[in-house]
């Protein structure tokens, strides 16, 4: 009975030594990535974890065959390190997973933004974002074409050629402020007059953009020639 148990004990150590060595080689041969598992830190902690049990099982086997090594003396301390190494592997893997999720979300947002910009720039109607003061924050290609808009060298300011917008309340020179309103509107008629007397009639729709204070922070305006 005792002999059978002794054989089992040795078989367990031998199997452990082989398998932990195989695992360590597998981990060493696994390519790492910074944005997915396994990261370099997780990989080297895994090498340390499997390495601890390569040493422990080798030392136990050595003892069984009468070979006492210096590892025998530190075996218990090596095993004590293992839970900490395991926690390190779990934490490094979790951090890599979170980082990978952030990257995936950022890529999805970028794709969604690019798609939206393709739709907006390809639309035949003019689309503009106006700030609360009626300054143009963004204009698509059709808006630039219809209103003769130009961007400055840095692309941070978009301005018109100095036209006058005529509304029911009168005429406002060189500003689109009359288009910014707290309520949405559809297909409102406006006339834009260029300094050289050229006139374009527009059908304009607008949707206000509210900021966190519920004040009108700007307006999304779409328009086409009437």
């Amino acid at each position: 009975m005792t002999q059978a148990l002794e054989i089992l004990r040795t078989a367990g150590d031998a199997l452990g030594l082989i398998m932990f060595t195989v695992a360590m080689v597998m981990v060493l041969a696994t390519p790492t990535r910074n944005d997915a598992l396994p990261t370099p830190i997780a990989k080297w902690l895994m090498v340390a974890g499997t390495g601890i049990y390569v040493l422990v099982t080798a030392s136990d086997l050595g003892t069984h065959f009468g070979i006492v090594s210096s590892v025998e003396l530190i075996e218990d301390y090596l095993e004590t390190l293992f839970p900490l190494v395991a926690l390190g592997v779990a934490f490094a893997s979790f951090a890599a997973q979170q980082y990978s999720d952030v990257l995936r979300t950022r890529r999805a947002l970028q794709q969604s933004h690019d798609l939206m910009m393709d739709i907006v720039d390809g639309a035949p109607a003019g689309i503009m974002f106006l700030d609360a003061g009626g300054h143009i924050a963004f204009a698509n290609d059709a808006a630039k074409d219809i209103l003769d808009l130009v961007e400055d060298a840095e692309g941070s300011r978009i301005s018109g050629p100095g036209w006058t917008i005529k509304t029911a309340g009168g005429a406002e020179p060189d500003t689109l402020a009359p288009l910014v309103e707290p309520e949405p509107y559809d297909f409102r008629s406006h006339t834009i007059e260029w300094p050289n007397g050229w006139v374009v009639d527009l059908k304009v729709s607008g949707r206000p953009l509210s900021d966190h204070t519920q004040q009108v922070g700007g307006m999304v305006v779409t328009f086409e020639r009437a």
């Binding site: 452990g16 932990f20 696994t30 990535r33 099982t57 839970p83 900490l84 779990a90």
Partner: protein
Amino acid sequence: VSVEPAEVFRLLLVAIVLPPLVILSRRLPRTRANTLIVASFGVICFSYVVSLLDGGLLQPPMDALQHLSYGVAGTLVAAGTWLARKAALEERERS
């Protein structure tokens, strides 16, 4: 039953490390590789408990069980790391 201080300390450390380890590992993707590696850690923890009991009459069977646990844990971690490596290589090929 003779209990080594290092064995008690090790088990105490596992008790401290286990809750955060369980929380973190539950948030990882549930792949077969991860399951096998976590299971391997569980078997190692089992060997720590068994090592506390290997005194007196229970010594031979508990000792054998403890060392058999190394074999089982090694097999599980080897299978887990093999699957993880396969998945990492496939992922690299895709990207």
